[in-house]
């Protein structure tokens, strides 16, 4: 068996160690980093991507891949906005999340039951869904005559117990979904399927249904993120969410998940998101040129993937 997520060794905790070192180094370089304002900043900035990365973790642990999350988030945000303007906030939020889950279901059915490659399938839905978003919105932002309902807009910046609503959502989701993944038979089936589809099948796991379900989670969570995004942007934005899939995948891999499947942990994926966001925040606070920022972010992703590779190489040679 490969290194399990629970093993408390230094390599297994590398994401957390990297995050702590990154924060410590930034705090040493600028005293503004640890200010309450900036720490709140980082939490809010991470919130939407954290929700997407959790969905991506389901798919990647199950041995798959999803490029369509950015387009799905845009679809959900716009659907939520349009329904909300007609039928109220609750209906809008529900419609947005359902739209995301529907895209996930479509991905899952094509990949699991028609055996189409996940990369190609979700590349297709990424483009197709973006097209649908432009069709239903006419390419213009969704905010009605006088904006989205004010309670919904207030939700995008409001707080509960001093913490933004946008931060509570991933916090609660992380607790609930970690339980699903680690403490239920269903969760174990996802790991088993991703770790070895044939072996899982032979031991009685309905692998096709498990795989399809991971895409529904991913789409549904992208839907949640899309609704959060609409609250944050005070409008449904057809062009929102471009390249989010790449950030989410990078965060999940930074969090130690294996693109081979069967490995990965939700909270570590969230740490991966924090690494990406803190890195961007630090580079901004230190006034690093935006062109250099791209170079730095790319280098960090490659370094993390290389470290992951060395680690799994060691684990498999033991």
């Amino acid at each position: 068996m490969k290194t399990t997520a629970n093993t408390w060794n230094i390599a297994g905790q590398m994401p957390l160690i990297s995050l702590i070192l990154l924060c410590a180094a930034t705090a040493l370089l600028t005293n503004r980093f640890l200010s309450p304002f900036n720490l709140t900043n980082i939490l809010v900035q991470s919130s939407i991507m954290a929700v997407i990365a959790m969905g991506m973790t389901f798919v990647i642990v199950g041995g798959g891949f999803d490029l369509s999350v950015g387009s799905t988030a845009a679809l959900s945000g716009c659907v939520a906005g349009m329904v909300m303007l007609e039928a109220g906030i609750a209906a809008g939020v529900a419609a947005g999340i359902l739209a995301g889950a529907a895209v996930g279901l479509a991905n899952g059915v094509v990949i699991a039951f028609l055996n189409v490659n996940p990369f190609i399938t979700t590349l297709g839905t990424m483009v197709l869904v973006r097209g649908i978003v432009f069709l239903i919105t006419g390419g213009a932002p969704v905010s009605g005559e006088s904006g989205l309902p004010s309670e919904f807009v207030a939700f995008g910046s409001g707080r509960f117990l001093g913490i933004h609503y946008l931060v509570w959502i991933p916090a609660v989701l992380l607790a609930v979904l970690s339980f699903v993944m680690h403490a239920t038979p269903y969760g174990r089936r996802i790991y088993a399927t991703g770790g070895g589809r044939e072996a899982a099948y032979l031991s009685g796991v309905a692998v096709r249904r498990v795989i399809a379900s991971t895409y529904v989670w991913c789409g549904g969570l992208a839907g949640v993120a899309g609704v959060m995004l609409a609250a944050r942007l005070q409008s449904g934005q057809p062009t929102a969410g471009e390249f989010y899939e790449l950030t989410a995948i990078a965060a999940v891999v930074l969090g130690g998940a294996s693109l081979q499947g069967g490995e990965g942990t939700l909270y570590k994926s969230v740490i991966g998101v924090f690494i990406m966001i803190v890195l961007g925040n630090a580079l901004n606070l230190l006034n690093v040129d935006s062109y250099w920022q791209r170079v730095a972010v790319g280098a960090v992703i490659i370094a993390a993937a290389a470290a992951e590779r060395l680690r799994s190489h060691r684990a498999s040679s033991q």
């Binding site: 900043n41 944050r232 690093v288």
Partner: protein, 311 residues
């Protein structure tokens, strides 16, 4: 085992080390202003940033930039990072009139003035908007064209992307003036992307439909340069006037070579400088109008020599 652990640690150390190398020395006593432009890889914004940096340097200010690259959430996050940094004022070119309102709200909450340059925002927290007088530019282009045509002929309008208010205003100003000339007929009007490829295609089609076309209005120099290729290919050089907008160097050269009839200079370097000046006046406590217009200059054969880049 040891080797793998070292590899893990090395990777963990790369990030802070890269930061330490990249971080410039910060001078605390200087005034720092923050800049968040819609894109950092577009020549217009690159030139604007040059103007901002140049003017800030003259005032002894530091400039902190964050990039957005047309991602609204990234722009909001970047502005928050600037506020966390403690900047005294922010110059922003918002991606969208509504989508980045949270950035304006954050600046207002921190009592930092936020000045929009070029694109504007609908946010009530926008301190000042420095912009071009879009309708007036449209009117000026139309007046110039009508005079050159002697008040008669068919014209085609290749406008900008649908939904973008800038291009709608330009087109409205243009149409408003043309409506006063009974001899001028708007024979064609279409929205589209601001690319050379689209300029060629659409101008080709229009010239087939209206071989006697007297002028083509375009919302942007790239579209104009494309339309110009189609006009030349149809042997209509000098007979179908093509007008541009923006005054980029290739368009200036085309005006010099009489392939393009005219363009409008919107010197983005000057926009950046004006943005800094407006912010400086506001910070000093001077009264500044909520809307500041930047001046534009029509460039045609008569004055193009003075505007061409020195070689």
């Amino acid at each position: 085992m040891f080797k793998a652990r070292m590899a893990a640690l090395t990777a963990a150390l790369i990030v802070p080390a890269a930061l330490a190398v990249a971080a410039p020395a910060t001078a605390q006593q200087k005034v720092t202003i923050g800049v968040s432009l819609a894109q950092d890889d577009n020549p217009f914004y690159i030139a604007m940033l040059r103007g901002i940096r140049g003017r800030a340097q003259e005032l002894g200010w530091d400039v902190a930039t964050v990039s957005a690259n047309e991602d609204k959430l990234k722009q909001i996050n970047g502005v928050q990072d600037l506020i966390a940094r403690g900047v005294k004022g922010i110059l922003i070119s918002p991606i969208d009139a509504v989508g980045v309102n949270a950035a304006y709200d954050a600046a207002a909450a921190a009592k930092i003035p936020i000045v929009s340059v070029a694109r504007g925002s609908a946010s009530p927290n926008q301190t000042i908007h420095v912009a071009m007088d879009e309708k007036q530019i449209g009117r000026d282009i139309a007046e110039w064209t009508a005079r050159r045509l002697g008040g008669k002929g068919k014209v085609a309008l290749l406008m900008g992307p649908s939904g973008a208010p800038t291009f709608r205003n330009l087109g409205d100003g243009y149409s408003e003036v043309m409506a006063k000339y009974p001899g001028i007929e708007i024979a064609f009007r279409a929205d589209g992307p601001l690319t050379r490829e689209r300029g060629v295609k659409q101008a080709e089609d229009v010239l087939v439909a209206h071989p006697d076309l007297a002028a083509i209005y375009t919302a942007n120099d790239d579209v104009a340069l494309g339309a110009m290729q189609a006009v030349n290919a149809a042997n209509r050089k000098g007979k179908t006037l093509v007008t541009g907008m923006n005054g980029v160097p290739p368009a200036l050269r085309a005006v010099k070579e009489e392939n393009l009839a005219m363009t409008v200079e919107l010197n983005p370097v000057e926009w950046g400088r004006l943005g800094v000046d407006v912010l400086a006046a506001f910070l000093k406590g001077d009264k500044v109008e909520p809307q500041v217009f930047i001046k534009h200059v029509i460039i045609d054969g008569a004055n193009v020599d003075a505007k061409l880049p020195k070689t």
